[in-house]
């Protein structure tokens, strides 16, 4: 089940499924140490002698409070005559997961309800050696292992604390879990368990007919007992209501940067633009890493996740943050890159949010080739130049220039094939094949141009000339070897054995995306026309597939693949780039609306969507999907400004000629 919302403060991140269950809880880094790993924190209700966990049998809806990273879930159960609205947030400065749960009794009579919370933590991602204990001094439950403490507590709107509790075992023969204990409406009161453990807490609500009661609930996260006790005391003294208001206001102020004028945008696109930035921020670790996704459901397929930092995805997210005016986020990411770069000047396949090298499936090719995706190194340099171009913050660039810029550039130069003039083979952006891909060549070209411009800024004329010449040679090699005049378009790749891959791949859009060629260049026009003709999904859902016969999570063999947000948004960006009048922009706007329409109701964009139903496929949210949307919106607004300015100049000239 894809994640429908994620909330975070850069250290503590929490993700929800579509049935109001918490499914991922990361601490102390966003993307590292998932203490749920897809297991559930769930809520249940006991009313009139009946019990029900929120989920099946409930009508549920989850989204965000507008302009915030505070999620709002509404769950209703007609049979129980109960409606529950929950506001969830992670406080910005305190590592507290906060919940305000408003329970409405829809019945015509007074009722005594019991609300239960079950905690299936897997601290450090496993169940070995956990402890859970009830602490009577503060009336709270504490889960812990080594340096991770999770303290769970709460209070009703009438000031009453936890009324029942139970600690116990799970995932053992004959023991489903302590949550079973709640299903008769009463908990055993067992105070401690160790090993493979879970816990349940209960609160009592006495509600008159057609009335509402509130429970404030929190989980304090820390590295030791004293830290979580301190956070618990803060939650009690400040109050969850106030902490939620602080969080709501923080995010509302955060998403409303004045740098970008959103007035020209249709309302739903402006809304999606803001929520995309907030969701990207939720996937950003405070120390700079931007994870691809927090959705651990992909664990079910290959025992690994998307909770890693891919420098490609991160560089594109950094570019989006910069365009939207969030330079602090991009700076943190570039500093993360500066730390992670190898001595040789390249980036590995992916990284953990702590900067260590992540798991990989790229085999070492031998023959002097590297098991890397070279575009990841190139795109960081490209994004760094775009950052500097916008902010001119030479003091920051100076700090990363010797390592990140010079070392990476030297690597890119060294990795050019002296015979072909193209980059030597590395793995493609889809992480499937070893070769020299058009996407990679275009990204390396952009990086060399970026490095040349940096060299000029730092007045290294010799280096500037070398890099400009290398970039020009690379561009010429792209035309002579990666462009096929007979097909009238670019190729996808050339492989180490010399064979040419003519499959139509949406990533060939890179030839204009990173500035190697103009969007109106004939070769680009023809390439994009092929992409559109071959990869547009001819169902009611529409959208663009990655490439012909894409097998990854494929729904139908009758279609080239599933529609992807990023590929469809590249088409939008091309239409924007080549537009010379409002008509061209209208078509791009339709694609932006397509992206909004196929987001989840919460605004979350997945990696792919189902070509027949439009539902989310693969991980959700995907930072890259949101980043491409933000970039496309910024480019759309920029093009409108340019058109308006050109029109004003034209009119001024006309007026001038009248006098």
């Amino acid at each position: 089940m894809p994640r429908v919302s994620v909330i975070s403060n850069g250290r503590l991140a929490v993700a929800f499924d579509g049935q109001t269950n918490v499914r991922d809880l990361f601490y102390p880094r966003v993307g590292l140490e998932n203490h749920l790993s897809g297991h559930k924190l769930k809520m249940g209700v006991w009313a009139d002698g009946r019990f029900s966990w929120l989920g099946d049998g409930w009508q549920t809806k989850t989204g965000y409070m507008p302009e915030t990273l505070v999620s709002r879930s509404i769950a209703g159960n007609a049979a129980l005559q109960i409606r529950i609205e929950t506001n969830d947030a992670v406080h910005r400065t305190h590592d507290l997961f906060l919940r305000k749960i408003m329970v409405s009794n829809l019945a015509q009579q007074q009722r005594k309800l019991r609300i239960f919370f079950a905690h299936d933590f897997h601290i450090y991602g496993d169940v070995v050696g956990d402890t859970v204990m009830y602490e009577p001094a503060i009336n709270a439950m504490i889960h812990y292992k080594r340096q991770r403490y999770l303290l769970v507590n709460g209070i009703t709107g009438k000031g009453e604390g936890i009324s029942q509790f139970a600690a116990g075992h799970k995932e053992l023969p004959g023991r489903d879990g302590t949550w079973r204990d709640a299903e008769d409406g009463a908990l055993s009161g067992n105070p401690i368990a160790q090993g493979s453990v879970d816990s349940v807490l209960g609160f009592d609500l006495d509600l008159s007919a057609k009335s509402r009661g509130t429970i404030y609930y929190w989980i304090a996260c820390g590295r030791n007992l004293s830290r979580v006790l301190d956070l618990d005391a803060r939650a009690k003294s400040i109050g969850v209501e106030q902490l939620l208001l602080e969080t709501e206001n923080y995010w509302s102020a955060w998403v409303n940067k004045p740098e970008v004028d959103l007035n020209p945008l249709p309302r739903e696109i402006a809304r999606a633009y803001k929520s995309s930035l907030a969701i990207m921020s939720a996937l950003e670790d405070r120390r700079g890493g931007i994870i691809a996704s927090c959705d651990s459901d992909i664990l079910q397929f290959n025992k690994d996740t998307y909770s890693y930092v891919w420098m490609r995805d991160g560089a594109i997210a950094a570019q989006a943050f910069d365009l939207a005016g969030f330079r602090e986020s991009s700076i943190r990411f570039f500093l993360f890159c500066n730390q992670a770069l190898t001595e040789e000047g390249f980036f590995h396949h992916k990284y953990s949010p702590d900067g260590s090298v992540g798991s990989s499936w790229l085999p070492s090719p031998g023959g002097g080739l590297l098991a890397i995706e070279e575009d990841e190194t190139a795109l960081v340099l490209y994004a760094l130049w775009r950052h500097f171009e916008r902010y001119r913050d030479i003091e920051f660039i100076e700090g990363v220039y010797p390592n990140l810029v010079l070392k990476a550039t030297d690597f890119l130069l060294d990795y050019l094939d002296s015979d072909t003039g193209l980059p030597r083979a590395s793995f493609d952006l889809w992480e499937e094949k070893l070769g020299t891909f058009t996407w990679t060549a275009a990204s390396v070209y952009a990086a060399l141009i970026a490095a040349a411009r940096f060299a000029r800024v730092f007045y290294n004329r010799e280096r500037h000339e070398i890099l400009v010449r290398a970039a020009a040679d690379l561009k010429a090699a792209m035309i002579s070897q990666l462009y096929d005049p007979e097909k009238g378009r670019f190729l996808r790749a050339i492989y180490p054995d010399g064979s040419r891959d003519a499959i139509v791949d949406s990533s060939m859009a890179a030839v204009f995306l990173f500035g190697a060629f103009s969007a109106r260049d004939r070769m680009v026009e023809e390439t994009m026309a092929s992409i559109r003709a071959q990869l547009w999904i001819g169902t009611d859902v529409g959208g663009l597939a990655r490439y012909e016969n894409d097998e990854y999570q494929r729904i139908s063999p009758d279609l080239p693949g599933n529609p992807w947000f990023i590929c469809t948004l590249w088409l939008a960006r091309w239409l924007i780039a080549r537009a010379d009048g409002p008509g061209g922009l209208d078509e791009a706007l339709k694609l932006l609306e397509w992206a909004v329409r196929h987001s989840q109701p919460s605004g979350v964009m997945a990696e792919q969507i189902h070509p027949f139903t439009g539902s989310s496929v693969s991980v959700s949210p995907l930072a890259w999907s949101h980043a491409e949307f933000v970039i496309a919106v910024c480019e759309y607004l920029q093009k409108r400004r340019e058109m308006a300015s050109a029109e004003e100049n034209r009119m001024a000239k006309e007026l001038g000629s009248c006098f």
């Binding site: 409070m65 507008p66 302009e67 915030t68 709501e248 206001n249 004045p258 959103l262 007035n263 809304r271």
Partner: protein, 105 residues
């Protein structure tokens, strides 16, 4: 001083939309063909009112469900306690102008 905000055709009857003008956030509401300009942020906790819901003259805040009367900005239901500012407007040549310096109420 009146400043141009938008074309009157941009907001259909029964709709509302937020605009940015000289650093201010303005909510424009079309009530049966008449345009009203108010503060775009809830007076309680700063929620974006354009994301709320409109029922006749009553606007409900999307965060904590405070309710306001569009015509005069008054509070109909808390938690908000302070009214919304309502700005003076003029329509000239199909364009909506708003006076940010002199709220009508």
């Amino acid at each position: 001083m009146f400043l141009r905000l938008c074309s009157i055709e941009e907001i259909s009857p029964g709709e509302m939309r937020q605009f940015y003008l000289q650093g201010e956030e303005i909510l424009v509401v079309n009530l049966e063909g008449r345009l009203y300009c108010l503060d775009a942020r809830c007076s309680h906790a700063g929620a974006p009112l354009a994301e709320g819901s409109l029922q006749g003259e009553m606007l409900t805040c999307p965060w904590h469900y405070s309710q306001f009367r569009i015509t005069d900005g008054s509070v109909l239901r808390g938690p908000a306690t302070n009214p919304l500012r309502v700005y003076r407007t003029e329509i000239r040549d199909g364009q909506l102008f708003v006076d940010l310096l002199a709220p009508e109420i």
